[in-house]
């Protein structure tokens, strides 16, 4: 079988540990290895790591530690779940475990910490979760030492992203360079994290309870090929553009037949988009490579064409990839994001062989998430999503986002593989609780699920929806469904803001303010507030408006208002799913 060098990460990013020389050796080894060899080496290394025979000094804990701090940085709740499980286990062992979300954690306490266990996921393109940003930035400053700190990091991630568990790695290495000392090596987990996490719990607790040699006897984490998440094969049942003629938007309501899929309102589905065939063909021709040639990818033989069509990201390559391309074709290329096709046009490859190296360093197509707009109770055997065709202007040429364009152009009855991305952070409360849903644009999606669900189970809680878009006439997503829910009383209240129907722009936050008094009454009577849609600026403006309402209606100071909102967060009554 072909020899191709598959890397997943850029050494430069991540080798503060290795000396030039060692790095060279490693790169040599890796670059000439076959897939099989790589996989073997990979397993071998992680085997060694888990047996702690690496020169990574791991200092023993004093016998019978009785006080630890567990911090978590989460987006969709997994890290939080693990943090609380870990705390429970620790308590059973008589250890007093404090659990704090990183956005609540006082960074000034760090120097005082002794036994410290960060559990953190990675978001975006290798970024920390929003809630962990403050902490992450803080530890990346200099000018302070953490000599008392003994720690171990549990990193959550997804191997289908190029920068696997990047935030976890950063935190782990950063705490060390600040003078902290590892109790256990960094533990990375793929989406099926339970097993690895449990092993880490056990190890950690042993380290804490034992006196030193604990680590050696710690049950090894057997490195296993990540099974990834369960992928379902869906079929497109319905595919309609919800926007009327003359709209600036295209928003597709897509219904997917999905036999045995299990999900809850609030969850999303992940989809790995396919590249445009035209682009793939163009690349193959330019590269002068045999489209049918098979190479190994993630331990299975795949044709070049298949690889470029369905596996590897060929558009808007990250700078790190462009840089690698430059190294391969040995030209200096400005450090900006580019499409592979443009690279091939401007900086051609020598020959097919060189192109194989290029393929080798390309990163996988990353999944895109779409909030589920259906409810198992109301839409049995189906998953609905609401996809806005993402477009942008590159020097006066309209371009479309990869996944949303792919989904927008799907035909009826075509198959669509997807997986469920649970969001335990974004769940409906008990049936009798009131909820306020703020979901402009595609932010409406999970709320369609919420309302349909509450309708189906006859929940007694009141439901209030805020929706916004550009124009009433063309952009009122799910208008007739919303009207029906108002008629049947499922929706207690609906406020809509159409920004471009009048001279001055009107957005959901303005409607919230207009309804300030009632809004506050609902808050006071224990209503849950949900926000979904674009992170910036929507969710920020909405949050500021929330504060304003609490201040004005509750006659509170800035600080008190902030506290009020923090308390709501703590009680899980202020929930966001923004992107």
């Amino acid at each position: 079988m072909e020899k191709v060098n598959i890397e997943t990460e850029d050494p430069a990013n991540n080798t503060t540990m290795l000396s030039e020389a060692k790095l060279k050796v490693l790169q040599e080894l890796v670059s000439n290895a076959t897939i099989e060899e790589l996989v073997w080496i990979n397993g071998y290394l992680s085997g060694i790591i888990s047996h702690q025979t690496v020169k990574q000094e791991v200092i023993p804990a004093k016998a019978g530690v009785n006080k630890i701090t567990i911090v978590y940085g989460t987006e969709s709740g997994n890290s939080k779940k693990l943090a609380t499980t870990f705390a429970a286990k620790a308590k059973k062992k008589g250890i007093n475990a404090k659990v704090v979300s990183l956005d609540q954690y006082r960074v000034n306490d760090l120097p005082k910490e002794e036994y410290f266990f960060p559990i953190i996921s990675t978001q975006g393109d290798g970024e920390p979760p929003a809630a962990a940003k403050k902490f992450y930035d803080h530890i990346h400053q200099n000018g302070f030492q953490l000599n008392k700190l003994k720690y171990s990091v549990l990193a959550l991630g997804d191997t289908s992203y190029p920068l696997f568990c990047k935030s976890g790695e950063d935190v782990d290495s950063r705490l060390q360079s600040l003078g902290g000392s590892r109790l256990l090596p960094l533990q990375k987990c793929d989406v099926d994290f339970d097993e690895d996490a449990n092993a880490w719990f056990t190890n950690a607790l042993q380290v804490l309870s034992s006196n030193g040699n604990a680590v050696a006897t710690a049950s090894p984490v057997i490195s296993k090929k990540p099974t990834g998440k369960k992928t379902y094969s869906g079929t497109i049942l319905t595919h309609i553009n919800l926007n009327d003629r003359g709209s600036n938007k295209e928003t597709y309501h897509i219904e997917i037949a999905a036999e045995d899929v299990g999900y809850k309102p609030g969850d999303s589905i992940g989809i790995i988009p396919e590249n445009a065939l035209a682009t793939v063909e163009a690349i193959i021709t330019l590269a002068g490579i045999d489209r049918e040639k098979t190479v190994g990818y993630k331990n299975e033989p795949v044709t070049i064409h298949e690889l470029l069509h369905k596996k590897l990201n060929i558009v808007y390559l990250p700078e790190r990839v462009v840089k690698k391309y430059a190294d391969i074709v040995q030209q200096d290329i400005p450090a900006t994001r580019m499409d592979l096709l443009d690279l091939l046009r401007i900086y051609p490859v020598k020959n097919a062989a060189q192109f194989k190296d290029v393929i080798g360093m390309l990163e996988p197509i990353t999944p895109r998430l779409y909030s589920i707009a259906s409810s198992p109770e109301a839409h049995n055997g189906e998953v609905h999503i609401t996809v806005a065709r993402n477009y942008f202007d590159i020097n006066n040429e309209i371009k479309y986002g990869l996944a949303s364009d792919f989904l927008s152009r799907l035909n009826m009855n075509t198959g669509l593989p997807y997986y469920v991305h649970p969001n335990t952070q974004f769940r409906l409360p008990e049936e009798d609780k009131d909820i306020i849903m703020i979901g402009p644009g595609t932010g409406i999606a999970p709320f369609r699920s919420f309302i349909a669900h509450r309708d189906a189970i006859g929940a007694s809680g009141r439901n209030w929806l805020f929706f916004g878009e550009q124009h009433f006439a063309s952009d009122f997503l799910y208008q007739t469904e919303i009207q029906n829910w108002v008629e049947t009383g499922v929706l207690t209240k609906v406020n809509v803001a159409f920004s471009r129907d009048q001279k001055e722009k009107v957005y959901v936050q303005h409607k919230m303010l207009q309804e300030g008094e009632t809004f506050y009454e609902w808050l006071e009577s224990g209503a849950y507030v949900y926000v979904c849609g674009t992170k910036d600026p929507m969710s920020i403006d909405v949050e500021n408006t929330l504060l304003q309402i609490v201040k004005m209606q509750g006659i509170r100071s800035e600080e008190e208002a902030i506290q009020y909102l923090d308390d709501m967060k703590e009680d899980g009554r202020y929930l966001k799913d923004v992107y």
């Binding site: 309609i240 003629r245 309501h253 006439a473 997503l477 799910y478 208008q479 007739t480 469904e481």
Partner: protein, 557 residues
């Protein structure tokens, strides 16, 4: 009196409407729809508006989970159909700011704007109000806009007669302040007695009510199609009084034999203003008290008249007025036309009648009519009068101003446009129908122009280009384009299909009857081709097409 049993739903809505206010204000506040609440849809008509939706877009929008595209049509109250140039300019701008932009001249001498979004109603009404215009009671179960023969050239005393339209219109206005409170931010009245309405009480009329005033011999207003028709009796340039005709109405309902079109019956003569107005007023109160309030299909005055009989009705009027109606005076209708082009009235003023196809004022690929009219208005040298054939008269132009108006009309090819239009087209009209009329079964104003383009060759082929044949089309049997009072009438039955009606006379004193049913375009053209051929061959000197059809018994008498 009207049996109070099983009143129609509308009756209850009117009575409980608190002076036609209902919940209109709340309806305006509903954010998630451009529609208003169901009961308010009935009430808003009394304020001169109809809720409509773009019927072309229904299916597609439903598929996109979007509601119907609801908007409102507003109809002005213009007794006798008159606007000053300033008011035309205002209307032009309001149409641009708040509606589709098209100004629609109706078959009842006023104008309508379509496509007004709920949130634009107030601004629209405010803007009209600022130029002294309003839409009160131009729709609904109440007296509508009052018509009067349009062209001042018609008589030395045209102006005197013309003012009757306004007097009657004002006399029959409702007393409620609802319109001013809802749309013009007027203080809510506290003492309801202030708006007590001795005429309309709290339940108004059983149905719409229409009045027209005509100056013979030109029956341009189709006076006999109205609930009350006043025929001016003029002897040596002096207004003697009016023949009063009652019970006109054209609408029928497909498959409902109890409904029929009816021309008004002349029942008497009243001399002088006081008696005439009093008689008119009491005819309205009789309809109020005796009209059918349970079946709206049978609620127009024409059915009340036929139910109780003309004699009973005359006596009842006399009881209520306290004076006897005199014997009708002789009168004669010889034509039913608009005098296209320039005409001069006895006072020396000039009037230019513009051909406006189906009353739709807009700039299209052929003529920039809307711009041209704006330019004329800007000169301030011509008033705007509307005709019941959906045309427009640039009127009361002083002799010394005639040339400057002429100049504008030439600059925009309006003169050419009006002159070169064929006689058959100039004698035609069509109702609105699709896409806004909720009752339309077939196209009308959007279709008739193209149909006429196919009829014109037939007219030429048979050498009838100089014949004035009145041709009218409506998209349903309600007859808004008065298709029943035409020599060639098309009444829509389904998309693309029409009943062909013949035998109506040229002057509007005899209705037509169904000749052939459910014809499609091909069949229509075939029929007309044959009809024109025999007409050309067998018409007796000067015989009108309508009379010819009757003489030949093409429809039974």
């Amino acid at each position: 009196m009207t049996e109070k049993t099983n009143l129609s739903a509308i009756e209850k809505i009117k009575q409980e409407s608190d002076g036609l206010r209902g919940t209109i204000v709340q309806s305006l506040g509903d954010e998630i729809t451009w529609a208003i609440r169901e009961d308010d849809q009935a009430l808003i008509k009394f304020h001169g508006m109809y809720q409509q939706d773009d019927r072309d877009r229904r299916e597609e929008r439903a598929a996109r989970k979007l509601d119907r595209l609801y908007t409102f049509m507003i109809r002005l109250r213009l007794a006798g159909g008159f606007l000053t140039p300033e008011q035309w300019i205002a209307t032009h701008n309001i149409a641009g700011d708040h509606s589709t932009g098209v100004i629609k001249i109706t078959t009842r001498q006023t104008i309508q704007l379509h496509g007004i979004i709920k949130s634009h109603i107030r601004p629209t009404i405010k803007a009209f109000n600022e130029s002294g215009l309003h839409s009160i009671a131009t729709c609904g179960d109440i007296n509508r806009n009052v018509l009067c023969t349009s062209n001042p050239k018609q008589s030395v005393i045209h102006d005197q007669v013309f003012h009757y339209a306004d007097k009657i219109s004002k006399m029959l206005m409702p007393k409620t302040r609802g319109y001013y409170e809802i749309w013009l931010d007027e203080e809510k009245i506290t003492d309801k007695k202030q708006e007590y309405d001795p005429l309309y009480k709290d339940n108004y009329l059983p149905r719409k009510f229409k009045i027209a005033v005509v100056i013979p011999p030109n029956n341009d207003v189709d006076v006999l199609a109205n609930d009350i028709g006043l025929i001016a009796i003029i002897e040596n340039n002096e207004l003697k009084g009016f023949n009063i005709a009652i019970g006109g109405g054209l609408s029928t309902t497909h498959g409902n034999p109890d409904t029929y079109a009816r021309l008004a019956t002349v029942i008497g003569f009243t001399p002088g203003e006081e008696q005439t107005l009093k008689a008119v007023y009491e005819i309205v109160t009789i309809q109020r008290d005796y009209g059918n309030r349970s079946d709206r299909k049978m609620a127009r005055l024409k059915y009340t008249v036929d139910k109780y009989g003309v004699d009973w009705f005359r006596k009842e009027i006399e009881n209520r007025t306290g004076f006897k109606l005199e014997e009708p005076r002789p009168y004669l209708f010889t034509e039913r036309v608009d005098y296209y082009g320039w005409t001069q009235s006895y006072d020396g003023l000039w009037h230019y009648t513009v051909f406006v196809e189906n009353g739709r004022v807009l700039d299209d690929e052929h003529v920039a009519l809307k711009t041209a009219l704006l330019e004329v208005a800007k000169t301030g040298k011509a008033n705007f009068r509307f005709t019941c054939n959906q045309n427009l008269i640039l009127s009361d132009v002083k002799a010394e101003d005639k040339d400057s108006v002429q100049e504008v009309l030439e600059r925009f090819n309006i003169i050419l446009h009006t002159d070169k239009t064929s006689a058959i087209r100039k004698n035609s009209m069509a109702c609105v129908a699709l896409n806004t009329c909720p009752l339309a079964l077939a196209e009308a104003q959007r279709y008739l122009p193209s149909l006429i383009s196919k009829i014109e060759p037939l007219v030429e082929k048979h050498g009838l280009v100089n014949e004035d044949i009145i041709l009218r089309m409506t998209g349903c049997p309600n007859g808004c384009g008065r298709s029943y009072a035409a020599e060639i009438g098309f009444v829509g039955t389904a998309l693309g299909r029409y009943n062909l009606q013949l035998g109506g006379d040229h002057e509007g004193t005899r209705l037509n009857k169904i000749y052939k049913e459910n014809l499609d375009e091909a069949a229509i053209l075939q029929e007309l081709d044959a009809l024109f051929a025999t007409f050309k061959k067998e018409k007796i000197n000067g015989e009108r097409f309508g009379d010819f059809a009757m003489r030949k018994n093409l429809v039974e008498a």
